[in-house]
Symmetry: C2
Subunit: 240 residues, 2 copies
């Protein structure tokens, strides 16, 4: 909607760190498709939302110390096991469950993403900053052709976003002041946490993140350095 620069960047950004689920890939569409291929009677939309809704509470249990450090692959499986009965799936064979859990490795990017990343990569170091584990992000990138310069993950920092250790970790890895790193994400809370650590921020509109039945409010919010419809628009704004 508003492809405009909101405040002046203070420092030349060197590294763009991307949130992945929702920002780069369409988790709702991918998970809904995976379950309906396996079990056509299931409401794919409701299943995707139910699986994803367990994500943040599960990470919070880890961050509170109730669970030891746990990769997202394992958290996804725990949540999956917990929602099977409500979808009548408690009898799915173990092999199908393992295959289904790996659907998060096979999510498709939004249509403009590969072309947008290629443009942004010419001028910036582009990396992931996702709560997804390294193997998940690596398999996803390999399948979809996402041209990351490197894959950073909660797994590297042993903390999940929005823990400051993740945002500041990117700056530390690249030996840069925080304001020379920019988080690119479709979630205002993620961006706000990055901003509190001194990073620059770019909001990306993904109105269909939760599916066509639940369009998301993608209005600009104050504080972000940039607000862009998608990655091609961000590349335009950044002069790539």
């Amino acid at each position: 909607m508003n492809d405009t620069k909101i405040i002046s960047p203070m420092q030349p950004v060197q590294v763009l760190a991307f949130d992945v689920f929702g920002t780069v890939v369409d988790w709702h569409g991918g998970i809904a498709r995976a379950i309906t291929e396996l079990a056509p009677q299931v409401d794919g939309d409701a299943f995707a939302l139910a699986w994803r809704s367990g994500y943040r509470p599960a990470m919070e249990r880890v961050m509170r110390g109730e669970l030891g450090w746990t990769l997202i692959d394992q958290l996804h499986r725990m949540i999956l096991d917990s929602i099977l009965p409500q979808f009548g799936l408690q009898d799915l064979p173990e092999q199908d469950l393992q295959q289904l859990n790996r659907a998060w490795h096979r999510l498709d990017p939004w249509p403009e993403v590969v072309a947008g990343l290629k443009r942004l990569k010419k001028r910036f170091v582009i990396c992931t900053l996702s709560n997804g584990n390294i193997a998940l992000l690596t398999h996803m990138a390999k399948r979809a052709g996402l041209p990351w310069d490197c894959i950073l993950s909660a797994e590297v920092f042993h903390a999940y976003k929005p823990d400051p250790a993740t945002y500041l970790g990117v700056a530390r890895v690249f030996d840069l002041p925080a304001n020379q790193v920019m988080l690119v994400a479709a979630h205002h809370d993620d961006l706000a946490a990055a901003r509190a650590c001194g990073l620059q921020t770019a909001y990306i509109e993904r109105p269909l993140e939760f599916g066509a039945k639940q369009p998301k409010d993608v209005s600009p919010q104050p504080g972000n350095t940039w607000h862009a419809r998608d990655l091609m628009a961000l590349a335009d704004q950044l002069g790539c």
Copy 2:
């Protein structure tokens, strides 16, 4: 020399993890060139060998706990500072020293590497497993076009090779048994440490690693799964 399969692989390998300095890039040539561009009177060959020879002792100090966890960029700088007087370079300005220290980020790959990695990437996940830090490896890959699927480093595991935490760390990241990961390296000690952890191993001949004046013995040693002249030969052997 002997592009032959030495013993039968027990399991289908899924991930190839590459040593970088010497195996993928020519550190001797790159460092010798960097110093002679800056200070033409210096013997580039001797300078490169002196700088590199401080590398393992510096890592050993960290692993013994005499130094806290330290990125290779910082270790390179400590070693550089220590060898400046012997090359009459103690008066180099700070800006030149910073630029020189970053020469490790700008090393060129051996001639066949990019083409070889592209072939291997079609069939395997290809990643680094280097004592170099993530930023160094990322900048190197971006400049040289090294098509890694992901960058793994001592920095991820907080341990330097040959610590088992590094080799086993790759298997853990990808949730694989150790023998489905193969270390690719030009150094028999690195390969032996990986083998002791259960990884498969491929030796790559790099006879000029230490420069033309000091050709390296690249004879096969027992125990490696593969022995290849270079990455194109390895791709041939692995049927890529």
